[in-house]
Structures are given as structure tokens and as C-alpha cells.
Symmetry: C2
Subunit: 550 residues, 2 copies
């Protein structure tokens, strides 16, 4: 074992924290991820900064809260000037590469305003969230009546598929994310429609997305030289479309699902935002048993495939020695309700949505004491960037990076730690906001959670509160409970403290600020001096010795 | 009268709101500024976003709170990517030029990181706070044992003075800001030492800083063509060094000062931060009568000179027709305690420090109804940028510019308006923080003021509260009054609301956000659809008509 020289930052997309056998899933066996946990630390209270891809990822990459970086939902451009882990790591001498998804929308207007061209190295990195690109694939080549969701979606992957004989204008959709109808094997059964979820995608396992990305990551690492690197291997699964290739499509059935967590009480006097999401198309769909019974087994199959690919990847790492000099992280950008709480997708702050798996294996001997343990500290997505910066040997930058390095937890050191985590959700671009008639500026949710309580503030509405000790399934909303007024007041105080934090003074560190105290007289700014004699002697000499003019 | 085509944005530095005869000063007659007020609107509750030059100005220029732009004190670089009025106005077709001071510290590191070169037009504007430079002069060429405060301070002005025969390496100091000793006319009596304040600066009126800047502004306007312009004429006076050329040095005496506003009660159980400032060198100095009696008459002389220059400038504007097509603003970046509240300088939130003069003359006929009136609305420094953008014909940008256009007030229109103003102060770089032992991240103050109450929050300390109705001089701190717990709670609620505001989603407007609602299916992202039949008919047709692959 040596110290970590490299970082392999693996992110799955929409992977629930509890759909892993190491996290207790009784039917979904994920031996490879479990093995990583057995040699590392599994964080049991890891929260993302926003339960939606784009905002969550921008927080992982910048190490900053959504309220700080402003890219508050999918396809909100990350403004020029926000630095990401790539910028920080390179300054510390570590390269930073991408294979897969970032969901980063470039700030075209800001780049143009500042004259930053995409065909320069600087511009390419600004455009790509600070990463150097081995492969960028956001994983959605969706097409609708108004055109494509992302004209670059699955661009290289589609070319690969066509070269492999999948003959179509959009094999990402027509093969990798569609099955075939039994009555007509040539007819598409699109993975967009959940009734098709248990069909086999019309693609071989090895050509499907997760193995493809694994191959691309191995290609990167195989050619990487001796210079330290961070690779963000960012899978686009088990995110929808929910459809898996054989044999994964057929490994699980309804009998293997975790029991649905929902209660009729949740629908009574529901918080208005929660109600709007429950009542929306997605919430209604996932409240139907036929939807869950189609989707969840497919989702489990996709995860099983992910785990198998972890086996392949870890075997390669061991074979090449990278296992012993690489910090390995497995996490996700958010979870998936899968019908729990009458919800589908993510968006709100129940655990299935906002809590994620987080497993870190640090190869250094200092981490031996914690191998195979779990850590119950309240950690956040923004903690990874400062963790990686410490691995790279860079100086901490708490005036920019709002998270905290997790290395103390990996190395069994005690650490004064945060009392609560924060997550946010900008629902201004959702149908729920339209239904509620909430203007964009007010369509914002904030979660404050500690080990006991989970609180949500919605501008202009009552709060929501769950007692995680008495009600770990988060079924009883105490937001209007007079008995809990004290807890709610504490949560509001924390939210206020947090919101006031100085997140934008990123051009001057605290140490630099403190070093300036009382230094103005040294450079001749003499405020509040009536007579030169009032100066300290060493300064008096300077000013008294001043030459006369002319 | 025509609509305003141009904007003349005049800022004085450290000009108290009440040292003007139009604001009630009984001895300091400022007929030219008064005349502007008589033809415009004088705002009686204009607050700056921070009572310190750099942070206040960055808020004026960006139209954003300090908590949003992050340049929280003098010489904290304004980060690359923050836009200023220059950027907004140019996009609306109006040039934006500078004569004088901005106190802007460029983000050298950010510019280098993004490859923005100073020798390009884009880079020069980023470096110069978005202004095109006719003359930049921050007005301090201070020199001390550790070197110069600002090696570029008064660069051009010093060259001008040398060409005019003021023979010295630093005529800014040796002539413009120093007198001579009576016992030895060749010996410097530096304006840095307040005992010299009533001496005549060793310079003619016409060569001193305020007339020089006026000349430079007239030169700019004289050569400006027909394209609309905004000129920021940013004087460096009446800011210290407190010393004025003849005859202004000798126009006023102690008998002309406003009575000092201070009370022994203020020293009893003072708020800890207030106490630290009172007890600091500057507070102690300005608590001495000899200091006030030296400084205030000089300060008044400097203001009188400013007013005389306004006379010269306004005459020129009238002569050339610019008076009738130019919106004219007179304001200041903050005030000056001048011994009130046992304080000197600025830094805290009593009116002498945080309230500023604000007079706007709009030449358009729509503004005729308000000429010569005062407006008591709660206005903020950040309101000017959106006002100017409206004058320039640009679309409002509330997702970037946090202030509100003042044009409705100028045009006698009713306007739903804010209930409170916010000001901030980062004292992390001051001796007060050192004395209190407060770490940089906690050394932050927030003011919330409405028409009745002024509240200050200091991290980790009790609040401060003044009742402006019962105690307009702000002598009785109610921060610990149980009777006022309700007011204090309301102020904390406002502070929390404000702090949560979405200030960083500057890459997407509210209208753009709202337009996205429910549009994902149009581009093929079909979430929550079990069967194609569940789609709206126009979409079903699209998906059903999908060609088979291969």
C-alpha cells in the first residue's frame, strides 16, 4: 500500500443509497461494490446538494453549494469564473479527466463576453466544467416534436454503435434504450415508455452503455503516464430510460423490490410543494403498482450490470497496480423515489432522493484502521472536491471550496464536524411551480438535516419536518406541530446562518484577510493620526525624514 | 427638455448626507448642488451597501449586494465574471466612461486563469470594472516604510502637477495634500497629520484635485460625439487627507460645525464591535475636540470646493445643451462620522456613515412633476445601475441586478417598493477584528433598516437596534431590550429572507426559467409515461410514427 497518487471518482446517476447489498438490500447483490466498501469506508449519511442531476453535479464539481454557484437546475449554465475540481487539482499538479456525464451547460454568453474561445485549452476547460475530455456523454439523445434535447448526447457512443453494426440514425435510442415487441421483433418498444421496462434492450451487454463507459475509462487509465491523474468516471446509468440488456432485464421481479414506503397519511394535509409533485404526472405514474413492477426490476438489473462492471474495472486496477495507488470513490448524483412517498424521480428531500451511496477506498496505510467500517458523519457532495485537493497535495481553499476534506474520516482521525447538511431545490422550471402558480424567484426549497431531524423550507409556505429517529421512513410531517416549534426555530436559525455565509469572497483567503489587519500605516495610509508623534517610533522616523519638495 | 440620452454619474467620496445646505446644513452653503436638487429629486433615505469605499462602489457598479459580488472591503478583487454597469450599458448601446476613482482591484489571478489579457479591449474593461478609462485616479499616492499603498495612485495627476511646476517626486502628497509650516515655509506639513488640516494645501485652487477632475470630465464630454454615453465622474474628495487649498482651508471654523452627536450612554454596554471601533485609534482621535476642530472645517472647505466645481460643471452643461439631455446624479460612496458616536471614518451603520446624499435630475418632461421634491423611499446604492440601464433603453435584468430602477420615483409614478434596506460590513481586515479576536469568516456585520428601525447583526454577538422615530440620533441601543424582542425577531426574519435570495443564478432569467416549465416532452424526455397512449395526441403521433431501425 502506498499513498494515493491518483483519484478514480466514479459517479452513478440516480443510484439510490439503499439499492446495494452493502447498504442492506436483501435481493440485489452487488458484491464488487460491497468489496470496495469492505476495503474502504461507507458513509451512511451522504447527502447531495440538490436532488437533481445538474445542480447536484455542479456542487460536486465546484465544491460549492447551489446557492453559491447558481447553476440551480439542469441546463442552467455554470457561470464563467466558477472553478471546479479540475481547476483546483491541476493547480496542485494533478490532471483531471472526464469519461461520461457532467450535465454541465456552458455559459456561452459569459464566454463570449470575456472573449474566451472554445478552441483554446482554457476555453475548452471552461466549456467542459474544468475537465479534460476523454469522453463526454450526458447519456440522453432524446428526440421529440421540437427537436433534440441535447444534439451532442451520446454522440461518440452512437458512432461506436453504428460501427458495431447497430444500423440507425440514433442507435442510442433504437437499440441501447429500446426493446422489441414480441408480436413484431422489428418493431421498437421504446425504453421511454415504462411498460417496456422489463423487455431486453436490443443490444448486447458488452455494447450497452455501462460496459462501454468502463472500457473508455480503462483506455484512459491504460495510456495515462506517471503523472498523477483524477479520472471522473461518470456513468449514465441506472438513470432512466429504465431498460436493461439481457440478461439484466430478467434477473429481478416484483418479489425482489424493497417494500414501497408510502402511507395514506402523506396525502392528507401534505405540504403544498410535496402535494404538487405527488399529483404531477410522474408522481401519479409511480404510484401505480404496474409502473413500479415494470421499472424497479429493470432499475435493479441496471444496477447489477453496474456492479458487474465494477468487478471488471477493479480487476483491471488490481492487475495494473492502480488499485494500490488510487483513491477510489463510488457515489451518485442523487437517488430515485421509485414510488416511495407517492413520488417518482427525485426533486424532493426524502432519503430515497437526497441521500446517496458514498464509498471511498484510500489505499494508504493510514486508512487501514477504517477499512470495512461505516461512517455516520453528516457528509455532503461538496466534500469530495476538498478531499481530492488534499490527496493532490494542494493547500485547502475554504474561501472557495465550501465542503471539507473527508480524509480525517478515512484515516480514523477525530474531526470537528458540521452539525447539519444543506440541500436545495430550484423547482422554478417544473410543472409543480406552474401548478402552484409560484413565480420563479420563490420556487426554491431548502433542506436542513441533522442526525435527528429533516426540515424543509419553501418560500412563502409552511415548513416540513420529519423526525428521523421516531419516523425513519419520513411519513409523518411535523411541520405544523406546535410541539416541534423549538426544533423548527432551530432549523430556521441554521438556515439563516448558512444563507449568510460569505460564499463569494473567493478572491481573498481568510488568512490573507487576517494578515492585512492594521497594515495600512505601513504603506502610508495614516488615518486618525493628529500629530506625527502619535505614530510608532519606526514609522515616525520614516515620516519625519521625508524630503522637502523642490 | 428631451429624454435623457446621456448619464452623468457624479460620486463624491466620503461626503456625509447632511453636509449640504439642501439637506439642512446651516453653515455650509452648497448652492450648486442645491440647485440640482431644486430641479430634481433628493432622496432622503439613500443607503450604501457597505460603509467603506471599495465594497460600496463595487455594489454601485455591479448593482449587486456585497454578499453577491464578494468584493467585501477595499482591495478585495472583484472576481472575473461579475458584470458592472459598463457591461450592461454597452449592451444597451450606451458607452460608459470613467473619470476618477473606482477603488476597483482587478482579479489578476482570475484573469490569468481565463487567459484574459489586459492589452485587449475585453481585458482592459475587466481590469477597470467595466469602464472605459478617460482617467483613473483612486486618489491616494500614499507612501510608507513598506512602500506605496497604490503605485498607480494619482499617476496622471502627478504628471500634470509636475508639468505645472510642482517639483517633487510625489506632488500629490507634497503639494496637493500638504501645507507648509509657518516657522519654515519650505517644510512640509503633511495632510496625513490632522493637526495640519486647517493649513492651506501648497497648491492653487485650480490645480487641486477637484478642479482637475472637473476639467478632465469636461474634456471627455466636449469630445463625445452623438452616441449616448454614461460618464462616471468620481471625485476623490472630500475624502481624507483632510486639507484644502486656499481659500477653502479658511472658510469655516469650529463654530460652523454641526453639533457633535454623541452621548456617554453609548460607551456603556456598547455593542462589542461598536466598542472596538470607538476604542481604536481612529475612534479615539475623533473623540478629541482638537481633532474635530481641525478636521471638520477642512472637510467643509473641501465640500465647498466640490460645490463650486459643480457650479462650473453645470454651467458648462447648460452652455452646451447637455443639461437638457443628460440624467445627472450626485451621490457619495459613504459618509464620515467626524466624531459623531465617538467614531471617525465610516465602517459602521449610524446615519453619518451609511446614509448618503442622492440627488437625481432627469431632464425629461415626465419628471417635471417631481422637480424640487424629496423622496423618502428606502433606496440603495444598487438602485443606480438598473436606473441607468432603463435610461439606456435596456431590458431589466433582475436576475443579475439586485437593485430597482428609481425612474418611477423621478416620474411621480407609484411603485411597489422594498420594505427595508441592507448594508454589510466585512471587518475582517480591521484592527477591530484583531482586538476582538474574531476570525475572518465571522467578522461580518449586516444592517437591516426600515423607516422606523435600524438593526445590526454581528456573527456570534448580540444584535444592535435603534428606534429612528424615538431616537433619530441613534444614541440608545435597544439590542438587549426585551420589550423589542418582536422587532428584533422581525429583523432577523428579514435578514434570513434576504440572505437566501437567489443572487447567483445570473445565467438564466426568471422569464427563461418559467418558459421552460413542462417542456421536456417536446424534446423527447418522456418521464413518467407508462404507455404512449398517455401522451397528448400531438406527441403520441410523433412517437408512434417513429421509424424502425435498420
Amino acid at each position: 500500500m502506498t499513498d494515493a497518487r491518483n483519484i478514480l471518482f466514479i459517479m452513478f446517476d440516480q443510484l439510490r443509497w439503499d439499492y446495494l447489498s452493502c447498504a442492506g438490500h436483501p435481493h440485489l447483490h452487488t458484491p464488487h461494490i460491497d468489496a470496495l466498501a469492505a476495503e474502504g469506508v461507507r458513509f451512511t449519511r451522504a447527502y447531495v446538494q440538490s436532488p437533481v442531476c445538474g445542480a447536484s453535479r455542479m456542487s460536486f464539481y465546484t465544491g460549492r453549494y447551489v446557492h453559491s454557484h447558481g447553476a440551480s437546475w439542469n441546463n442552467v449554465p455554470l457561470k464563467v469564473g466558477e472553478r471546479t475540481m479540475g481547476d483546483h487539482l491541476r493547480e496542485a499538479g494533478m490532471d483531471c479527466w472526464l469519461v461520461g456525464k457532467t450535465h454541465m451547460k456552458a455559459d456561452d454568453e459569459g464566454m463570449a463576453r470575456l472573449g474566451i474561445r472554445r478552441d483554446t485549452q482554457i476555453g475548452a476547460r471552461v466549456e467542459q466544467c474544468g475537465f479534460d475530455i476523454w469522453e463526454r456523454d450526458d447519456g440522453l439523445r432524446a428526440e421529440g416534436p421540437a427537436g433534440m434535447y441535447d444534439p451532442k448526447g451520446a454522440e461518440h457512443y452512437n458512432a461506436y454503435l453504428r460501427a458495431r453494426g447497430y444500423d440507425s440514425a440514433n442507435p442510442w435510442h433504437d437499440f441501447a434504450n429500446s426493446g422489441r415487441r414480441e408480436d413484431d421483433p422489428e418493431e421498437l418498444a421504446s425504453g421511454w415508455f415504462m411498460k417496456n421496462a422489463r423487455k431486453a434492450a436490443a443490444i448486447s451487454d458488452e455494447d450497452s452503455e455501462t460496459p462501454y463507459m468502463t472500457t473508455r475509462a480503462i483506455e484512459f487509465m491504460a495510456q495515462a503516464g506517471d503523472d498523477p491523474w483524477c479520472l471522473h468516471l461518470s456513468y449514465i446509468k441506472p438513470h432512466w430510460p429504465y431498460i436493461a440488456p439481457a440478461p439484466y432485464n430478467d434477473m429481478y421481479g416484483p418479489q425482489h423490490m424493497l417494500p414501497v414506503v408510502r402511507d395514506a397519511r402523506e396525502r392528507q394535509e401534505a405540504h403544498p410543494v410535496f402535494k404538487a409533485f405527488m399529483d404531477g404526472r410522474i408522481g401519479r405514474a409511480f404510484s401505480r403498482d404496474e409502473v413500479r413492477e415494470a421499472v424497479v426490476p429493470a432499475y435493479m438489473g441496471l444496477i447489477k450490470q453496474c456492479d458487474d462492471q465494477m468487478g471488471r474495472l477493479f480487476a483491471w486496477l488490481k492487475q495494473t497496480g492502480r488499485w494500490d495507488d488510487t483513491l477510489i470513490v463510488v457515489t451518485s448524483d442523487h437517488g430515485d423515489y421509485l414510488g416511495d412517498h407517492w413520488m417518482g424521480e427525485k426533486d424532493l428531500f426524502h432519503d430515497p432522493s437526497v441521500k446517496v451511496p458514498l464509498i471511498i477506498r484510500d489505499p494508504s496505510a493510514q486508512a487501514d484502521a477504517t477499512r470495512g467500517t461505516t461512517c455516520e458523519a453528516l457528509v455532503e457532495g461538496i466534500d469530495l472536491a476538498p478531499t481530492f485537493l488534499e490527496i493532490a497535495g494542494g493547500e485547502a481553499r475554504p474561501h472557495i471550496l465550501e465542503g471539507r476534506s473527508l480524509l480525517p474520516w478515512l484515516r480514523g482521525e477525530t474531526s470537528e464536524w458540521r452539525d447539519y447538511v444543506v440541500s436545495e431545490y430550484d423547482y422554478s422550471m417544473t410543472g409543480a411551480a406552474a401548478q402552484l402558480g409560484v413565480p420563479a424567484r420563490q420556487a426554491r426549497l431548502f433542506m436542513i438535516a441533522d442526525v435527528r431531524w429533516k426540515f424543509m423550507h419553501a418560500d412563502g409556505m409552511r415548513p416540513q419536518l420529519f423526525d428521523l429517529a421516531e419516523d425513519p421512513q419520513e411519513l409523518v410531517d411535523l411541520g405544523t406541530s406546535a410541539e416541534h416549534a423549538g426544533v423548527i426555530a432551530l432549523m430556521y436559525e441554521r438556515l439563516a446562518d448558512w444563507a449568510r455565509r460569505p460564499s463569494q469572497r473567493t478572491t481573498l483567503s481568510d488568512a490573507q484577510a487576517e494578515a492585512r489587519r492594521g497594515k495600512s500605516a505601513d504603506v502610508g495610509v495614516l488615518i486618525g493620526i493628529y500629530d506625527p508623534d502619535e505614530l510608532p517610533p519606526e514609522q515616525t522616523a520614516f515620516y519625519r525624514g521625508r524630503p522637502r519638495p523642490g
